[in-house]
């Protein structure tokens, strides 16, 4: 004991040693690189291959984009300015901008009309897409189709006005009769709307389009990206109600209704859109009354709407099938009749489940509107392949034009799919 006290202890730790930083290769960017890019032989090879790929892509495209010429009147002039350097000739975009966006026949002095319609479209879509906005804005959304029709096609304001009055009358009748019986309200509304439209149509003078505030533009003069947007928006908004009806019809207990819906859906889903567009361009005219001329735009809208309605119906059917049986039984036990049960209990839930699917169909449909170029409508792709590439000034400017078209579609479609993901998170009320 004694000598222990005499021998001084060589070392006593008097406090905790401060923690030393982790080794350099275990922290920060080095660790991240090691773990994520170079964690093994295969991974290293993959990383190097990716880097080479990115390098090659950038090396070939960057100078091309950077040297781009934005002001020239023809490809030859572009090449002169570039003087042998590689570079894009974006001048085609600035020079042919109106053609790319509005088509080559839309009157120059009327470009403000589609522009205004586009801005108003954003306003009209806002309350549909973001439901935190005041509900009163939906009134404008309901008015928008008539305003947009008048702005884009021009002509007499009486035409959209009569259509609007017909819808208002139908709505009023539905409110009145529909309280007691959905069917009575529904069919009453259709009859009233038809009556109003027929009377109104007779009242509109033949020469209403002459001297109208906005000059009338025939449908065949529409073109460019505007046509894609119009087809996409019209067909999606028309096909959602039709798709709901088809999905409900397919679930119906009435065999006749059910089989009509099944055959319609399976038939449309079994054929490519191109064949349906052929129907619109060469065959549908045979089914309209003789002497009537239904313009190509309307025929195409009819066929594309039927096409996307069939796909949307299948998406909604999935949503309906995903609802537990108890929801239907609960609605029945509350004494709700079929329209009430559907409107108040089933559809709100089923549609919520189907939103991602419906957005997928909408994106697909928007991309498919480029197919109308095959039946010689001059949408964006049609304009590029037709009038612009065939012109002597711009013959050979492929990449700038196709890249521009690709970029436009990418921005819109990617935007829509991002919105759908946001909406899905927003609507997720369960705890997953």
């Amino acid at each position: 004991m004694a000598d222990q006290t005499t021998n001084p202890i060589a070392f006593v730790a008097e406090g905790t040693i401060p923690p030393s930083p982790p080794p350099a290769n275990q922290t920060g960017i080095v660790k991240w690189l090691r773990e994520n890019l170079f964690s093994g032989v295969t991974n290293t090879i993959l990383t190097l291959l990716s880097l080479i790929l990115i390098y090659v892509l950038l090396k070939n495209t960057l100078p091309w984009i950077m040297n781009g010429v934005w002001n020239a009147n023809s490809l030859a002039e572009c090449r002169e300015i570039l003087a042998g350097k590689t570079g894009a000739c974006f001048a085609v975009l600035t020079e042919r901008w109106p053609q790319l966006i509005y088509g080559f026949k839309y009157p120059d002095e009327a470009y403000w009309r589609p522009n205004l319609a586009f801005v108003l479209m954003l306003v009209a879509l806002a309350p549909v897409l973001f439901f935190d906005l005041p509900r009163k804005l939906l009134v404008f959304t309901a008015l928008y189709p008539f305003i947009a029709f008048w702005l884009i096609w021009g002509g007499s304001i009486l035409v959209p006005l009569v259509a609007l009055v017909g819808f208002i009358a139908a709505g009023a009748v539905f409110q009145k009769l529909g309280r007691n019986s959905f069917a009575a309200g529904f069919f009453g509304a259709i009859v009233v709307a038809l009556i109003v439209w027929n009377i109104g149509g007779a009242l509109i003078p033949e020469d209403a389009n002459e001297g109208a505030m906005l000059t009338a533009v025939p449908s065949r003069d529409l073109g460019g990206f505007m046509l894609n947007m119009m087809l996409g928006l019209t067909c999606v908004s028309l096909s959602v109600p039709l798709g709901i009806a088809l999905a409900l019809g397919r679930q119906s207990s009435m065999p006749l209704i059910k089989w009509v819906c099944v055959i319609f859906i399976e038939f449309i889903r079994g054929v490519p859109l191109i064949t349906l567009l052929f129907v619109a361009s060469v065959m549908l005219a045979y089914f309209f009354p003789p002497d009537s001329t239904v313009d190509l735009f309307l025929r195409v809208v009819i066929m594309i709407t039927m096409f996307s309605a069939a796909y949307i119906a299948e998406v909604i059917r999935g949503g309906l099938a995903a609802l537990p049986r108890g929801q239907y039984e609960a609605a029945d036990s509350l004494g709700l009749d079929y329209p009430q049960a559907m409107r108040l209990i089933i559809l709100p839930q089923a549609l919520k489940i189907s939103i991602p699917g419906i957005v997928n169909v909408a994106v697909g449909l928007f991309k498919d509107t480029t197919l109308v170029s095959v039946i010689s409508m001059f949408d964006l792709v049609g304009m590029i392949r037709g009038p612009i590439l065939a012109s002597t000034e711009w013959n050979g400017v492929y990449w700038e034009l196709l890249g521009f078209a690709a970029l436009l579609f990418f921005v819109v479609c990617y935007g829509i799919s991002q919105y759908s993901q946001w909406l899905e998170r927003r609507l997720a009320t369960d705890h997953r």
Partner: protein, 410 residues
């Protein structure tokens, strides 16, 4: 006191047709039937009147008339004297050819991209995400046109291969990429057992199927031996032999030679020519659909719970075997149904061939034949019938598969 009463046995009143659930569905169906019949009558009447006004009738005899146009890309004998019907058959075969090729390559692209998107490698997974997003969000028609433009505007013409100092040269002296199409060496039997070339190829396929059965037999024996002795014999070499030897022998016996494309005059001759439109369509459909398949594959793999991977790792399996033996067999059940509907999409999207002039059924029957004969209704109906049959067959295959892999539950 309440008394039980029988339900009222009221006489049938007209209002019961709409208010009584027993009769209501009947009423509605009768109304629907009348509405459908009326609209069919209306449309049919319009059709008949319009046809009479145009002096047309519905008849399919035009299918037997000489077509008068040529088709470059064809799998069977055809010339401008052949009938419109034969042109349609050429078109059908071309549709099936491009759909078949695109299905295979799209699956390859899709599986690679889908698996790599889940890779631990940050760069690779981001790169694959970019690929998927770019290709999914741009219309396939634009992709077809872009690749077709590469084929026709970027690749050199055959003239560039000529002269003493050619600006372009053939790859390995075997493949020629020109703006008129890609030329590859074609296999050719100099002493085939049959005079018709396709019978010889059938023989080759038959031998390959035989090899498949034989190699399965080898596997079975190996498993049997493993169960008895606990040792699994090495079967790799034996299987390789079973696959290669019979085919190689057959090839030698039939005198396989390669017909290499050569520059003759102003164009290449010999070998197999794959036209630019076919390549554009094939490749565009593959990369476009590949992006969708990649998402299906990713979703399928992610649907398998992480516990499966961990359990397999706990058993001591290596990552490759975990994927092959544990994850993929389960993921396939999730992946295959959407995969088959992607195949359906490829078949339907192949109708875009008309945009680049590939002679598929839409371009022959729905394009040139329709324009030459003016038989719009007949042509479009036949076209729809073909696609409808194809899609019904594919969905039937899907249903059979779904039934076979369904989880056997109580």
């Amino acid at each position: 006191m309440s008394t039980m009463t029988d339900p009222p046995k009221a006489d049938f009143r007209l209002s019961m047709l709409i208010n009584d659930t027993r009769y209501r569905s009947l009423t509605f169906q009768v109304i629907a039937a009348i509405a459908i019949a009326l609209s069919i009558w209306y449309l049919g009447n319009n059709l008949i009147q319009n046809l009479r006004a145009a002096g047309l009738n519905i008849s399919y005899t035009f299918l037997g008339d000489p077509s008068g146009y040529d088709i470059n890309q064809r799998l069977i004998e055809y010339d401008s004297q052949s009938s419109h019907g034969r042109a349609a058959v050429v078109g059908i075969l071309n549709t099936l050819l491009v759909a078949f090729l695109a299905c295979i390559t799209a699956t390859v692209f899709g599986v690679i991209a889908g698996v790599l998107r889940l890779s631990n490698n940050w760069l690779v997974s981001k790169l694959m995400a970019v690929y998927v997003e770019i290709f999914r969000n741009i219309p396939v028609l634009i992709w077809i046109i872009i690749i077709f433009t590469i084929m026709t505007a970027v690749l050199p013409g055959p003239r560039a291969f000529r002269g003493d100092n050619p600006t372009s040269s053939m790859l390995f002296d075997l493949f020629a990429f020109t703006n008129r199409g890609v030329y590859i060496p074609g296999p050719h039997f100099s002493s085939g057992f049959f005079s018709a070339a396709f019978l010889n190829w059938l023989l080759v396929i038959a031998v390959l199927i035989g090899s498949w059965f034989a190699s399965r037999e080898v596997e079975k024996r190996a498993t049997l031996q493993q169960e008895q002795t606990g040792q699994r014999p090495k079967t790799g070499l034996v299987k390789l032999g079973v696959w290669l030897v019979p085919v190689a022998l057959l090839m030698v016996l039939m005198g396989l030679t390669w017909d290499v494309p050569e520059l003759k005059g102003f164009n290449f001759s010999g070998g197999i020519k794959i036209g630019g439109p076919l390549i554009a369509l094939w490749f565009a459909l593959s990369i476009y659909t590949g992006a969708f398949i990649a998402e299906n594959v990713r979703a399928g793999i992610q649907a398998i719970s992480k516990g499966q991977t961990e359990a397999a790792a706990a058993l001591g399996l290596r990552p490759g075997r975990i994927m092959n033996l544990v994850i993929l067999p389960q993921a396939l059940r999730v992946i295959i149904p959407p995969l088959i509907s992607q195949y359906l999409n490829i078949t339907k999207n192949s109708s875009l061939a008309i945009a680049v002039g590939y002679a598929d059924i839409t371009a022959t029957l729905g394009g040139i034949t329709l324009n030459q004969t003016g038989r719009a209704i007949e042509c479009v109906l036949l076209l729809m019938l073909f696609y409808l049959t194809a899609s019904l067959l594919i969905s039937m295959a899907m249903n059979v598969y779904n039934a076979s892999v369904k989880l056997k539950e109580r």
